[in-house]
Amino acid sequence: MSASADEIRDLMFEYCWLLDRGEIDAVGELMEHATVYGEGGLVLHGKDEIAGMFRDRAIMYDGIPRSKHLCTNVILDIDEDAGRATARSVYVAQQEAPGFPLQAYIAGRYRDTFERVDGAWRFAERVYIVDLLGDMSAHHRPADSG
């Protein structure tokens, strides 16, 4: 059986669905127990900090970021006994917005850790890795500092 594998992939793909629909609070809830690590030493913990980061940085068009995150190549390592799992994946995010033709604006990797608590898998950690940077101008307000 690979029920855990499917549950874990569902969490990863749910993240993309929620983010692309602009459901920032729901992204925060999905990662409520997680610590996320980003470029420049960024460390965020819990739903308020994580949702707050997207709210501060993502440019919205009528409430949505007009992005589509493709997340694939999920390499799973699941320790059923310990209730811990890791997943390495790749993502490409594409966007189309007023004055901004359809294009990929960023590509990289997620390094995720999951934990099973009370029978359900949840995000414990996500490390954002940027490999390839495109034109972020329609997506992203730069951070003031690390």
Binding site: M1, S2, A5, L70, T72, N73, V74, I75, L76, I78, E80, R88, V90, V92, Q103, A104, Y105, I106, A107, G108, R109, D131, L132, L133, G134, D135
Partner: protein, 149 residues
């Protein structure tokens, strides 16, 4: 325990990851004793040493020691034959690239048709046929001598 399909997909994604990171020897270890051929072409690569050499002469490494690529492998169809301890998989791939030369864009797309055999050490790639279908600006991917006009 991961399903056979997930073990096989892990292997394919690790191969992509090694190439994106410029780890050609590690990619060759995943490739093991497999045979690589290109659909409709004459090229055949057999085994890890030939694969490592093939990657080295075919892919340009940029200043950071990587090809500056992200390989996406999607739409997997995996077929496992338990009795025969063999499997096959077909997938689409898209290679994204960005560097000083070109902005972020897809540069290559195609399909991989793979077969596997189950050994004491788990699933191993037995053969790969690559079918290139969509050709973009691959000049930044190939070694400079070959990419130069």
């Amino acid at each position: 325990m991961l399903s056979d399909s997930d073990q096989i997909l892990n292997l394919l994604y690790e191969l992509d990851e090694h190439i994106d990171k410029g780890r050609f020897d590690a990619a060759a270890e995943v490739f093991a004793d497999a045979t690589l051929s290109v659909h409709g072409g004459d090229l055949t690569v057999q085994g890890r040493d030939e694969l490592a050499a093939f990657l080295r002469r075919s892919i340009r490494l940029h200043d950071d020691g990587t090809p500056k690529t992200v390989h996406l492998t999607v739409n997997p169809i995996v077929d496992v034959d338990d009795a025969a301890r063999t499997a096959s998989a077909q997938t689409f791939f898209t290679v994204f690239h960005a560097s000083d030369e070109v902005p972020l864009q897809p540069v290559l797309g195609g399909a991989n048709f793979d077969t596997f055999r189950r050994t004491e050490r788990g699933w191993q790639l037995a053969s790969r046929v690559v079918q290139v279908r969509l050709m973009g600006n691959v000049a930044p991917l190939v070694p400079e001598a070959e990419g130069a006009r």
